[in-house]
Assembly symmetry: C4
Homo-oligomer: 271 residues x 4
Amino acid sequence: MLKEKLYRHLEPSAWLERGMSPTNIVVSICIVIASCLAIIETEKPLADAHHNLFFVFETVFFIIFAVEYVARVYAAGEELRYRGFWGRIRYIFSFWALIDLIALLPYLLWFGNYNAFFMRILRVIRIFRLARLGRFSLAMQAFFNAIAQRRYEFVLSVIFAFALLLFSSAILYAIEAPYQPEEFGSIPRALWWSVATLTTVGYGDVTPITGLGKFFAGVTAIAGIGMIAMPTGIMAAAFSDAYQTTKNLSDMEREERELYIKKLSDHKSDP
Amino acid sequence: MLKEKLYRHLEPSAWLERGMSPTNIVVSICIVIASCLAIIETEKPLADAHHNLFFVFETVFFIIFAVEYVARVYAAGEELRYRGFWGRIRYIFSFWALIDLIALLPYLLWFGNYNAFFMRILRVIRIFRLARLGRFSLAMQAFFNAIAQRRYEFVLSVIFAFALLLFSSAILYAIEAPYQPEEFGSIPRALWWSVATLTTVGYGDVTPITGLGKFFAGVTAIAGIGMIAMPTGIMAAAFSDAYQTTKNLSDMEREERELYIKKLSDHKSDP
Amino acid sequence: MLKEKLYRHLEPSAWLERGMSPTNIVVSICIVIASCLAIIETEKPLADAHHNLFFVFETVFFIIFAVEYVARVYAAGEELRYRGFWGRIRYIFSFWALIDLIALLPYLLWFGNYNAFFMRILRVIRIFRLARLGRFSLAMQAFFNAIAQRRYEFVLSVIFAFALLLFSSAILYAIEAPYQPEEFGSIPRALWWSVATLTTVGYGDVTPITGLGKFFAGVTAIAGIGMIAMPTGIMAAAFSDAYQTTKNLSDMEREERELYIKKLSDHKSDP
Amino acid sequence: MLKEKLYRHLEPSAWLERGMSPTNIVVSICIVIASCLAIIETEKPLADAHHNLFFVFETVFFIIFAVEYVARVYAAGEELRYRGFWGRIRYIFSFWALIDLIALLPYLLWFGNYNAFFMRILRVIRIFRLARLGRFSLAMQAFFNAIAQRRYEFVLSVIFAFALLLFSSAILYAIEAPYQPEEFGSIPRALWWSVATLTTVGYGDVTPITGLGKFFAGVTAIAGIGMIAMPTGIMAAAFSDAYQTTKNLSDMEREERELYIKKLSDHKSDP
């Protein structure tokens, strides 16, 4: 009974009522707060001044997330494929469970003395914890499904973008190399200029200085419009087509899920 | 009779003829002129040279808007919900009436000696007065309704944008922190670079200097295309679908409004 | 007979065959070459070195365009509304005829000694001559008609853009004025930063330096995405809807035109 | 028999099974690796340190591509139009065969002592070799066909973009020339600023300094939104319309191709 109740509260797709279960709402809020703390803590003066406070909060959130993790592993047994000891092992290696585990690890940051780069990596992982929120959003999955239907066109536009990046940096390398060896001395170096121009970011730290270089830079900048226009156009078409589909799908999914869970509970109440 | 006439002239949705009532056109022009003056006045040499002229204009517009405000409160009684003393109190705390009141306050700026920051805030409020024009545009409401129908997708793309902002600044912080502590020393600091890159603004005041940092900056810039493409695509789809809907809606609204006002006047002519 | 033939060759909508008449093709090429020369001539060292050559070319093109202008005025008599002396006067004051006349004037640049600014203005007018090509494109008119059908939404998005520009520069003025009086000392000054940020151009010559200023600059940059997304979305919707319409329209126009000209020639062959 | 087998393996449209033939997959991988090496080799310190290694790899890839080229010329005889000696000559001058030949030439780079610029050009040609991959993608052709259907609108928006570029640089030249003669001293010079602004790249190396110049620069930046919005809108409409068409077309093409090849083999088994 407890296992079933836990499963209902923890597994978003098993929650029959509208929205998220109260347990998952609490967990989500904890994730957001813990991530905000992790972001603020990277500001060194603040971290040094309130070292103990940060440690206390981090410990509290570690305990909450550890308990949540154990509960998830326990409750996973409700699903047929994760039943028994080996089922649980299989669950631990499932995508979202791995994310949960990785999100727990950076707590070790507080113990031992690592080198500075590794410390920063651990801090960053604590922010990637936010990705755990993705599990709760059935809606986001429908959204990305809509985009995924056009993955073929997206792949082609990515290939096209890469070709543009390479060709424009190759041309600028051929023209500007002797005048700015540090910035255009090789194609990989010219890529930094190329990506800033084609995405229309345009930092301006590297710009061509020869007349011919400026001409091809202008052509590249205009081609950059195409590089923005292509994925935007594909996405506009995807959303235009997927509007009704998304709606219907989410309705269908809900019905199916309800049927599935009803069957599950019928099956259980049988014996 | 005067109250009804005032109501017809002041409440845009009660005006039966095409376009805006002459009274509201005059008020709109006054708002635009007053805002232009407020903008020009922030240029200190001009404000000092023509101090008295600005004061006279400001006083004239204050009187006009104060009279308009009192007239609106009086005329609001035409609507059932704002009838009587308590109804007027309720009207004063309604959204647009509050905006009107706030827009009147900065006139106090001329009396008393405040600190410089508060003075600038008061000046800025005088420009936000332009928002009052929003009340007159029934069309703009239809326009935003069309966008609002896709609010779900917009919220998702905002969440996606926030995730991109956080993750890209977290990665650049991990890589660039020791080389540019002032610009990338913490995640909140790296956010300034991140927002400039992902929105493709690209000021260029902060750029990565390490090879790895430039690589991830390039990836971020390309991801920034997606951040622009997503809302653009959603908006394109919204406008494509909403074209007929908007037309039909505005027709329906007009009919309904006419019916409502006809009923109102029938009701009044009864006794 | 000559007048009718001239009219057929000069008036694009009177040309019955596919494409442009040979006369108009020659005129178009002359316009393009003359404009290219005018562009190159602004480069002072080149203009000084080949002063006589430029003068000869300019004279030749002036004669061609002057002859063309006189021929157009003469041929305009084919149309009923431009018949007779007063009709010709009316034609001279029609839109495209005025453009033609203005395009002839900068030839005077070569005679007399004007101040430098006026000289540059005259040179620029010679480039605006390119606008004369607009007359030849019936297609471009159909294209802009398609966009014009959404003018209502475009106007709203322009108003929205102006509001964003004003509000963002007002906020940055309030925050940054004491720290960068030269760049943010008044709202008109802050507008330069504001327009560069909201259009995602991001020159980087002016950036906020305070923390609060950077925060609102980030919000402005994100709002800038909306400022780009809105017209793009409207345009996408316009083109999506107008595809068939444009085709049908241009077919209809051609038929109508042919009928009109047939009628015209029938009318003439009557007496 | 060998010739037919070679033709089936080398000509992408003659491959009956799903995807690419194993031979073409190997060739594609070789092209990608060879191009990556060519990119890395432009980094001088690396090229100098591993000169011999690069030479060995380059020789191996040259032999592979030379063999492939000869095989393609031989196998081309399967097609009627390329049969016999003169047919082969005709094949050698066909588009993709010329690309293949040009891609082979830069190997000569290793022998003889050219001037530096020519060397860089040869290196760049080795990267353009990537364009050879285009031949293998029947899908990409369908993709570009979808875009090509709107070529008419694209041409108009390119003309519009050119007009904007010219007019904005002409205006800025007229205003800024005396203050920044190096950057705005002629229209071709002002074009560099103009293209950076209208594409919203905004390097920031050249910006107007006069008030009037800044005003028109702001107008240009806002017009730049239109320059991005137009092709994006057209592309969005193209993809929205072409979704089903593309699918149907590729299905039809496959059927047609199969029929064609079946007929070819029937024809051969006849005698």
